[in-house]
Symmetry: C3
Subunit: 316 residues, 3 copies
C-alpha cells in the first residue's frame, strides 16, 4: 500500500501523521520552517507563495488556539482563509462528512486543515479527495497532531542541534496525548537514542514501550541527566476523573518544579504545548524561568505550519 501522505511521484500530498513520514520529508519541513522564522520577524510578514489559494479551516471540534495558528500561517503566505465551524453547520443537517468535503472541494478548496474528535478523520478525508487537494491533520482524537510534533522537533533541533546524543523526557498524561505520540515518532525518525515517558500507570497507554521509549513512574529517576523535558497539559476533565486522585496530588508527583528540574542537565530546556495549567503540571517558577522555551515553541509553530502549507501548496 502506498504511503497515504505521498503522491505517486513521492511528493508530500498530505500531512496526516508524523509516523510513517519519510525522514527526508520531515527534515525538509524543518529546513523550510527555518527560512520562515526570518519572514515572521520582518516588518512585512508576508510572502506571496499561496496567493490565490483557498485554505479551509475545518474545525469539527473547537480549538481557537490551533485554528488561529493555521489562520495566521496561511495569511502570511497570502492565501485566502475560510474558517468553518462544522459542528454548527451542515453536519447537523444530516449531510455526511464526505458530502461536506466534496462540496467544499467543488468550490475549489486547495487545502483542508482538519480538526476532529475522531481518530482517523483526516485520513478518511485524505483518501477521499482528488490529488490536487491537500489535507493537514490539525489533531484527530487521541491519534496524532503532526504539526505540534514537528514544531516540538524544530524547537529541540534549534536548541540542541544533534538528535543522536539526546535524552528527552515526556512527562504527564501520555495516554490521552496526541502531542506525545506525534513527538515520539518525530524523535524516533530523527534518531534520538533516549526517549523517556514519565507518568503514572493510569495515564500510560498499553504497549507504550513498543513506541521505543523507556517508561518511568518516578520523576526523580526519569528526569536524571535529560537534555529536554516536555511537560504535557493535564486536561481539566482528567483532574476530576477516576484516573487521578487530585490535581494537587498530581502536581506533587508529576508537576515540574525547580527542584526536580535540577536533576536534568544544567542546560536542559523545558517545553510545553500549551495552554499551561500553572501549579498543576508545571510550577510558575519553571514556566517563567530561563530554561523554558515555551514561547519560542509558539513562534516556531507558525513557521512550521507555513512550511507545511507552502510545501503542500507547491510553493517554496
Amino acid at each position: 500500500m502506498r504511503n497515504p501522505q505521498l503522491n505517486e511521484k513521492g511528493d508530500l500530498q498530505h500531512l496526516l501523521n508524523v509516523e510513517g513520514l519519510p525522514r527526508e520529508h520531515l527534515v525538509r519541513i524543518l529546513d523550510t520552517a527555518a527560512s520562515f522564522v526570518g519572514v515572521t520577524e520582518r516588518d512585512v510578514k508576508k510572502v506571496p507563495l499561496l496567493r490565490g489559494k483557498s485554505v479551509f479551516n475545518l474545525f469539527f471540534e473547537p480549538s481557537t488556539r490551533t485554528r488561529t495558528t493555521f489562520e495566521i500561517a496561511a495569511k502570511r503566505l497570502s492565501a485566502d482563509v475560510i474558517n468553518l465551524n462544522i459542528s454548527t453547520s451542515s453536519q447537523s443537517k444530516g449531510e455526511t462528512l464526505l458530502d461536506t468535503i466534496d462540496n467544499l472541494a467543488a468550490m475549489h478548496a486547495d487545502m483542508f486543515v482538519v480538526r476532529h474528535a475522531a481518530s482517523g478523520a483526516a485520513h478518511l478525508i485524505a483518501r477521499h479527495v482528488a490529488p490536487h487537494h491537500h489535507v493537514i491533520n490539525a489533531g484527530d482524537g487521541r491519534h496524532a497532531h503532526p504539526t505540534q510534533g514537528l514544531l516540538d522537533a524544530y524547537t529541540i533541533r534549534h536548541y540542541k542541534s544533534d538528535f543522536s546524543r539526546l535524552s528527552v523526557a515526556i512527562v504527564g498524561d501520555i495516554l490521552h496525548s496526541r502531542v506525545a505520540r506525534s513527538l515520539i515518532h518525530a524523535l524516533n525518525i530523527l534518531g534520538t537514542p533516549d526517549v523517556r515517558v514519565i507518568a503514572p500507570q493510569t495515564l500510560l497507554p498499553t504497549g507504550v514501550a513498543q513506541l521505543g521509549v523507556r517508561v518511568f513512574h518516578n520523576m526523580n529517576e526519569g528526569l536524571r541527566d535529560v537534555d529536554v523535558v516536555v511537560m504535557l497539559r493535564l486536561q481539566n476533565e482528567r483532574m476530576k476523573g477516576p484516573l487521578l486522585p487530585s490535581a494537587q496530588e498530581f502536581f506533587k508527583c508529576y508537576g515540574l518544579t525547580a527542584e526536580k528540574l535540577a536533576l536534568a542537565k544544567p542546560d536542559a530546556i523545558v517545553m510545553h504545548p500549551g495552554p499551561m495549567n500553572r501549579g498543576v503540571e508545571i510550577d510558575s517558577s519553571v514556566a517563567d524561568g530561563g530554561q523554558a522555551v515555551i514561547l519560542p515553541q509558539v513562534t516556531f509553530g507558525i513557521a512550521v505550519r507555513m512550511a507545511v502549507m507552502s510545501i503542500l501548496g507547491g510553493g517554496s
Copy 2:
C-alpha cells in the same frame, strides 16, 4: 413603479429575486459567470475586480454553506469581507433592522449579502439604502434564493444549451422551497416550455399552477422523458411534521432511485441544491451516479456569485 432591482439607468443595482429580472440581465449574469469558471480553475484564483470594496455578509439566520460560497466568491474578486452574525448582535440590543443597515452603510459598505428568515427582508433593505449600495438576497424566508436559481439555470444551460426544447421536473417539498420558486422563474424567463413539479398535495403551495408549471403527484408520470430532474432537500423538521407520514414513506413515493430515473431521457441530468439527505429524497446510487451534476452545481455557484457581485460592483 420602477423595477426594484434596477437603478434609474436600467442597470442592475440589487439582486433580490429572479422573478421580474429582465431577460437580458439574467443572461448577462450567466455569460459573466462563464468567464469566471475559468478563473476558479486557475492556479491563482483571484481577480482584482472588487479590490478595496467592502462586502458585508449579513446573516440573520445561520447558513454556513451559503455564507461560505459568498465569502469565497468575494475574496476571489479581492474584496474585503466582513461576516456578521446578526442574531447575536445589535438586533438583540433593541436596534431596528434599518438602523443596523444605516450604521453599516455609514462604514462605507459597498455590498450587503442578506440572509433572513423573513420574506421580503432583502427588499426592505434595498428600498432603504442609497444608490451606491448593493443588496444581494441570499435567501429570505420561503420567498426567494436568486443566486441558487441562477446557478441552477447556469448548470442546465451548461449541459443542455437550448432551453426552448427542455422538460424540467422539480421534485419534493415545493411548498417550503425558495430554491424551487427561484428556479421556476428562471426557467420561465429563459423560455422553457415544459416545467413540472412533482410532490404530494401537502407539499405544494396553493395556486402553484399559476407559476406556469404542470403539477404531478406521481413520480412515474412526472419524470417521463424529462431532460432535467431537480431534487429538493426535505428539511428535517418536515419529516416529523404533520405534512408527511415518515421519511421512509416519502422516499418510497418521491425519493429518486435509479429505477425511477430510468423513466427520464437517457441523458437526463440530476440536480440537488444540497445538503443532501441520502436515502430520503435521493438514493446514493443516483447521487453518486453518472447523471448527477450536483458537484458541478457547487462549482458553478461560486462563478455565478462572482458574476453577480462583479456586475453590481461595477466591474467586469
Copy 3:
C-alpha cells in the same frame, strides 16, 4: 511614573484612555483621521500602511459592532486581521490572561484590540507586552472607550471647529458609560469651557463634578443654548433595574424630543454612540432629523480607528 500610553521616546505606543493623553497626540490622531475620511470615500478604499502586520481583535465580551469597526479599519489599512472570541477559548481552559497574551505575542501579533468586561484589562496587557506590541482599548468595564471618545471629539470638531467657545451637554446614563467618561476627558483636553451632564441622581457617578463638568438633573435647564447634545444609550438591563422607574418614565424626563432640542442653539448637533433605543433615550423625529449627526459619527469612527492603528503601527 511614565505615561503608560507613551514609549521612551514619547511616541504613542498604546491607546488605553483619553485621560492622560497629551494634547498633541490627541490632535495628531484627529488630524490623521481627517486624511483617512477621504480614503474611505474612494473607489478603492485601501492603503498599504499596515501591509503584513497582524492585528488581533481580542473580544473577551462580545460586541459585534465595535469589532466590526476595528476589523474594517484594519483591513482598509491592508493588515491581516484575526478575530478571537476569547470567552469561548483558552480562558475556559484555565490559562491566565497574560499567558494567552504571551502566546499571541509569540505568534508575532503587532496589535491587540482589546474589549473586556473588567476595567483596567487593556492597561494590564499594555504593561505586560514588549515595546513592539501595541494595545488599543476597545472598551474596558465602565472605565474607558477611547476610540469612541476620539470619534466624538472628531465629530464635534468637524461641525463646530473651535472647542474654546462650545457648550456640550451629555445626557443619560453617565454612571455606566465609558463613552461619557472618555468624551469628557477629550473635551477637557481640547479646552471646552462648558461641559454639562444631565441625568437623574441615580445614574450619576459619585464625584462626577470632579471631572470638570456641571451637573443638571433637569433637561430643560441643562440643554439651554448648548452647541452639542450627546445622548447616551440606556442599557436594557437598566430599564428593569432598581435605578429607574421605567423606560417610559425615563423618556418623559430624559428622552430627547424636538421640543426639548429647541432649547439648545438652533444649529446644535445631536450625537449618539449607538445602538439607539428609539423612544427611550431619543425620539425618532430627532434621530432622523436635520440636526442629528449620528451616522457621520459612524463614518468618522472608521477614520479615527484607522488613524490610531496607523500611528501605533508606525505608518502615516
